[in-house]
Amino acid sequence: MFWRNVKNGRLQFVCLFVAFGFLPVMALAQYHPKDTEWPSYAADTAGTRYRPLDQINASNFNDLEIAWRIKTDNFGDRPEYKLEGTPLMVNGALYATAGSRRAVIALDPESGELLWIHGEHEGKRAGAAPRQLSGRGLAYWSDGKEERIFYVTPGFRLICLDAKTGQGVPSFGEDGIVDLKRDDDQTISAWNEKGEWVPNLDTGEIGIQSAPVVAKDTVIIGAAFREGMTPKSMRNNKGYVRGFDVRTGKRLWIFHTIPKKGEPGYDTWLDGSAEYTGNTGVWTQISVDESLGLVYLPVESPTSDFYGGHRPGNNLFGETLVCVDLKTGEPKWHFQLVHHPLWDMDISSAPILADITVDGKPVKAVAQPSKQGFLYVFDRITGKPIWPIPEKPVEVGNVPGEWYSKTQPIPSKPPAYSRNGVSIDDLIDFTPALRERAKEIASKYHLGPVYTPPTVSKLEGPLGTLTMGTASGGTNWPGGSYDPETHTVYVYACNSCIEPIGLVEAPKEVSDIRYIAGVAGQQVQIMHGPGENAGADSPKPPKKRPASQYVRLDIDGLPLVKPPYGTITAIDLDKGEIKWQIAHGETPDVVRNSELLKGMNIPRTGQETYNIGTLVTKTLVIAGEGHVTTTADHPRGAMLRAYDKATGKEVGAVYMPAPQSGSPMTYMVHGKQYIVVAVSGGPYSGEYLAYTLPSAGE
């Protein structure tokens, strides 16, 4: 069967290659996903990425072979090289977002056969979207009778599909769609050619790439924006969070991540800055405790990642973990991880809900991984830290007009699981000569521990603050995993993602913000959205410009800091202690083949990347590599690795043709366990790979 129709300007195409006769008949009672399924982005709404499956284990991981694979090139008008999705597998079908159109596909989980595809053609609205491409996934809901799939398009529309057919559900919103740019307690706006801030649903900046979360009968959606290092204005749309009825699409509640006048937290924005400051969305995964009826919102940074002079005050709920009521959105408690954010330490991943035992007492906890390498652990009912998180004095900077918090909360337990500052001791030390060269480079920057503030970039130095654990450090969007049997968090972290943060004065025609990210001696460059501001009337570059001041933060390709470059850490949540930590990933080619290290025996270093997600099963922690390597054991490619979850010892690895770009998931169908992972990057366009064990006799 095949049909295609045009409705209300929206082209919807649905291909049904097979009838759904193979699907089991749904029971009329409420559908309860089994632990052999993967019904939510992170396996469940607690953010665990855990399934208690054990068919694939230490004894046979190396035997895994590809059961099926699907390239995503044709799910859009051009191939995509950044496939970040994690599929769902529930009730006999696998669902995923795919391709540059962010299409939704349904596949047979055993064969990979395409069952249906759904795509939305949004024109200009998608072209101007701040978060494009295939996104990270979707959400599933069933009442035991109806089955629905939810996702958000690049143009910021919430789509509700019939999971059996891929057709829109007419009773949801307007013909299956809720326009998320409307009914948002603000008028989504954009700058026009005259420099006026005016309503514009096409180009008004707001969108999302994460998967919606469905809990009970509510679907919850956050908001994302462009990267905020050099915004053109201190004013932007705000990233409120909303809950919608899964059946009707009716808005049930909204949470103002920047409080409105009269709401708690408004007074943390001095000089009325809450009125114009934007961003502060929840762009990553939201977690929900359905039984408690509580939602956990990891909120990102306010407008202008690295300069906060136009938003004096602590800026609630920027970089704050907020707990709200699932039915009403009413705030229950909050904890601000970073006061007056200046380091782009968005809370970047799903809060992990964990039932643990501390000092012999059961505690319902929430553990929040972070870019800064701290795992913040709270009682998830009260918000009280499980172990003290005292306010400690931090360096106060001297950027003109900036407002500084003199203290920041630093967890006493568990210890930081990745580097979150740069000192001389962190620099490369394979040889004394390399250390000296690294020191010379580092001498151009201001160094310091976590929360060392950005500096104004000066030609004579410092060029900026050399930071780690900021924009791309520690744990980013893939987040961690949690083993509910052993009360252990497993979390990947980039341990070498250095970020130089320098500020330069922004010319008025570039931004109304006083300072934006930049380097002294280089032309001020607004980091606008891709393609934006490139038209005929955009500001002309100056005729004369200073010479480029590229300072390479590596030494002949070797990372400036010493290994491990990327790690997986196991953290005992009952004790708040690190159980083990390993370098994850083959030593990069540039290090392994370096002439400077010839003859040296370098243990595996791990890799410098920030987007690795882990999967936990009954016995294993599984994660792919984020870099391509070419070794004596395998051609150019990356490995999907398995570790004994008790010890961190590697027990197996299988080849992937490209790096892991979306987090792995697992499920079981007809007695066989599968692992599905998204790979892409560099020359390799997006592909989902499904691994399984050989059948008997193969």
Binding site: G127, I526, M527, D589, T630, G681
Partner: protein, 174 residues
């Protein structure tokens, strides 16, 4: 007629060698052979700043939504492929909001800029803007051994998989 036959026979014998000779220099070229000019890289820098830096960063080190265009991970991704592959990747998918907006010349200039930042040497001729021709230039992370040290035995130890081991026979004719 006899002359024609002789010509045809000669052509039949010589043409393969001519073709091989014509291909020979291209087959051995890599990014280490000065395949772009400084001037072109400067033009590319202008385009890069306007069109690419927003996502890939002022220093090509990447951002949250775009990978780095310099450094070990970038080079490992493209090692052993050709500039044609990289050029087509840029041309077909970038800039994200409107792929194909840049001209082939602009794309070639940006590629030249990327090569300069990755410390591949500049030369006297500009980088081509035709993907087919760029496919004849290999992206090699490691500088190949000097040509006068060419090893004729392609199975010689240390020469396995080398980019040079497919061409020595034909080099003898040049």
């Amino acid at each position: 007629m006899k002359g024609l036959l002789l010509f045809a026979a000669l052509a039949g014998v010589l043409t393969p060698f001519c073709l091989l000779r014509a291909q020979e220099p291209a087959e051995t070229r890599s990014v280490w052979d000065g395949v772009y000019t400084d001037e072109q890289a400067k033009r590319g820098e202008e385009v890069y700043r306007k069109e690419c830096a927003a996502c890939h960063g002022e220093m090509l080190t990447g951002g949250e939504s775009a990978p780095p265009l310099t450094g070990g991970a970038f080079q490992a991704n493209w090692n052993g492929l050709t500039l044609g592959d990289l050029f087509e990747r840029i041309r077909k998918t970038m800039p994200l909001s409107k792929p194909g907006r840049l001209t082939r010349q602009q794309n070639a200039d940006v590629l030249a800029f990327m090569l300069s930042i990755n410390k591949f040497p500049a030369g006297k001729t500009e980088l081509y803007r035709q993907a087919e021709m760029l496919k004849e230039i290999r992206f090699e992370t490691k500088k190949p051994a000097p040509k006068n040290r060419l090893v004729f035995n392609s199975r010689a130890p240390g020469n396995q998989g080398s980019s040079l081991d497919r061409t020595p026979f034909f080099r003898a004719w040049s």
